[in-house]
């Protein structure tokens, strides 16, 4: 029986203490929820000090791009397009571990001059069949480019490059000495993609937060 009243755990002299002890244990287990790395201190005056120990946890959202390493490779947290995780290289999706090296492959960027930009993009073969696990490296992959696809200013139209429609998930701003100065995240969500076919006009490719 869960505890609902203080009288259930208060005692009189001579009362059996074990049932009340069990109730108290249950009360503690049910009522207190300690977050990870939380330290609770009771101060002499009866006050409580709740403090966080250790570093705060970053939000590991989809498409989160890390700073480049020495070989200018950036890590990308897995995200999905229509439920499918894009490929980072032939036969390997984002977030998968390479059995040969034991590493999780990232995307290698070409370092830019100070002030230049590189966009990390998700690339979809312009088709409406991107869904689930049926995708291949030739349908859904990660890419990088130093300019946005043509038509990205036009609203709704993304010019395809050999059939690929690309959408940026993050932008790397290069600083001095070919080092990344800042990384700006563009997409924080898994994505959906649809292509709108139009007779006599350019097909329109839409990406939106899932």
């Amino acid at each position: 029986m869960p505890i609902t009243n203080i009288n259930q755990v208060t005692a009189k002299k001579g009362d059996a203490i074990l049932p009340k002890w069990k109730l108290l244990v249950e009360l503690v287990q049910r009522g207190f929820r300690f977050g990870r790395d939380v330290k609770l201190s009771i101060l002499p005056g009866g006050g409580m000090l709740v403090s966080a120990v250790g570093d705060p946890y970053p939000w590991l959202h989809p498409w989160k791009v890390g700073y480049p390493d020495d070989s200018n490779m950036v890590s990308i947290r897995p995200g999905t397009v229509n439920g499918a995780v894009p490929f980072i290289k032939e036969g390997m999706r984002l977030g998968e571990v390479d059995k040969d090296t034991g590493d999780t492959p990232g995307l290698t960027l070409k370092a830019g001059e100070e002030g230049e930009r590189t966009w990390v993009m998700v690339s979809v073969r312009g088709t409406n069949t991107i869904r689930g696990e049926e995708t291949t490296y030739d349908m859904l992959r990660m890419d990088a480019a130093t300019s946005l696809p043509k038509g990205m200013g036009s609203g709704g139209v993304i010019a395809t490059d050999e059939g690929w429609a690309r959408y940026p998930v993050a932008m790397v701003l290069w600083g001095a000495d070919e080092l990344a100065e800042s990384i700006f995240q563009i997409s924080y969500h898994n994505l959906n993609y649809v292509m709108s076919k139009a007779e006599g006009r350019t097909n329109r490719h839409f990406f939106f937060a899932a």
Binding site: L24, F32, L40, Y57, G115, L148, Q185, S187
Partner: protein, 353 residues
């Protein structure tokens, strides 16, 4: 068997060790009461600053050198392009802007009058945006129609001591008017409220008509984001929502597609009802309407317009006949203009990415 006839068990060997703990009743009950009282205590971690802040997050500080409140907005993206602020004074531009534009950092960063203005400053370079004009929130001397554009003071601020306006609401069934009086607040506690809106502007496509074979044929020019990037602007009133823009003729008068990003509120100190311009002793509250980066789509529908031949006044006609020809010509032009105006329909919308 002993002499008293009772059967006794084996003799228990005495175990040495710590004395058993028998809590006093008061101790036990004190512990129980404390645990009971604090069982629902909420505990958690507080994330340190810098771990995550969403795009378009607004900050507002009093700048002593400028003598104004300045706004900062965390960089947001529209269709992958970083948004800019137009016409930024040199003092409000950061080192990155100075370096990009002039090759060196601001030589006199404490001087509010640099005499320089930068045309398009990306938000990623963290420019400050001074607030030149605040909107005075509807106050006690105003009457607001419920549901109108003139928003009454939000309850959050009336709780803090801002005197709201009288609100009139109309019951459409009974045609009855109801006037809601603002809560009375003593003058010593009453506070003023100001606001300014942060609006994202996406330059719209331009439709040009070229005359060909007795008709005006449309061609659409989409704005190049390098030349006409999306930009943020401060304005006293919130923009018309995109839905309204699409469904009414307002689209014809608006040059840009607009999205309301955030409202910045300033609340004055209690009892100070005479100050017009907010000073450094005011407090700011930000209210974001958008938290994520954006994409947008625009759809342009432009149709051909056929031209009626315009008859020129001919010589030899009488005065009234001549006048009639002119009137007919003007009417034809007016019809063509009207047809031209209604032949273009631009709609679109923003969504999060």
């Amino acid at each position: 068997m002993k002499r008293d006839g009772k059967i006794r068990g084996p003799k228990i060997q005495k175990v040495t060790g710590p004395e058993p703990f028998y809590p006093e009743v008061a101790d036990w009950n004190g512990l129980a009461a404390w645990l009971y009282k604090t069982r629902n205590l909420f505990m958690g971690t507080t994330a340190k600053e810098g771990t995550f802040s969403h795009p378009w997050k607004v900050g507002c500080v009093w700048d002593t050198a400028l003598g104004k409140w300045v706004i900062t907005v965390k960089a947001g993206f529209l269709r992958g392009h970083d948004v800019v602020v137009k016409e930024v004074e040199g003092y409000c531009a950061g080192d990155a802007t100075w370096k990009r534009e002039t090759g060196a950092v601001n030589p006199d960063p404490m001087n509010a009058k640099t005499g320089k203005t930068f045309k398009n400053v990306p938000l990623i370079e963290k420019p400050m945006i001074p607030v030149l004009k605040w909107r005075v929130a509807a106050s006690a001397d105003k009457v607001v129609l419920a549901g109108s554009d003139e928003k009454p003071v939000p309850p959050y601020f009336t709780e803090l001591g801002v005197v709201g306006a009288k609100v009139i609401s109309v019951d459409l069934d009974t045609q009855e008017l109801t006037v809601t009086e603002p809560e009375t607040i003593p003058l010593s506690a009453a506070r003023q409220l100001r606001s300014v809106e942060i609006v994202l502007n996406q330059p719209r496509p331009v439709v040009n008509f070229v005359e060909a074979d007795g008709a005006l044929v449309p061609s659409v020019d989409y704005p190049d984001p390098k030349k006409k990037p999306p930009f943020l602007r401060l304005q006293p009133k919130p923009p018309v929502t995109s839905t309204d823009v699409v469904s009414t003729a307002i689209i014809q008068t608006s040059l840009n597609q607009e999205l309301h990003i955030a409202t910045v509120w300033l609340i004055g100190p209690p009892g100070d009802l005479g100050t017009v311009e907010p000073g450094e002793d005011w407090e700011f509250v930000s209210q974001n309407w958008v938290w994520w980066n954006l994409d947008y789509s625009v759809h342009v529908k432009a149709t051909e317009v056929s031209l009626e031949p315009v008859v020129n006044p001919a010589l030899g006609l009488t005065g009234s006949e001549n006048a009639q020809v002119i009137v007919d010509g003007l009417n034809a032009q007016a019809r063509a203009a009207e047809e031209l105006a209604s032949s273009v329909q631009i709609d679109g919308g923003f969504w999060t990415i």
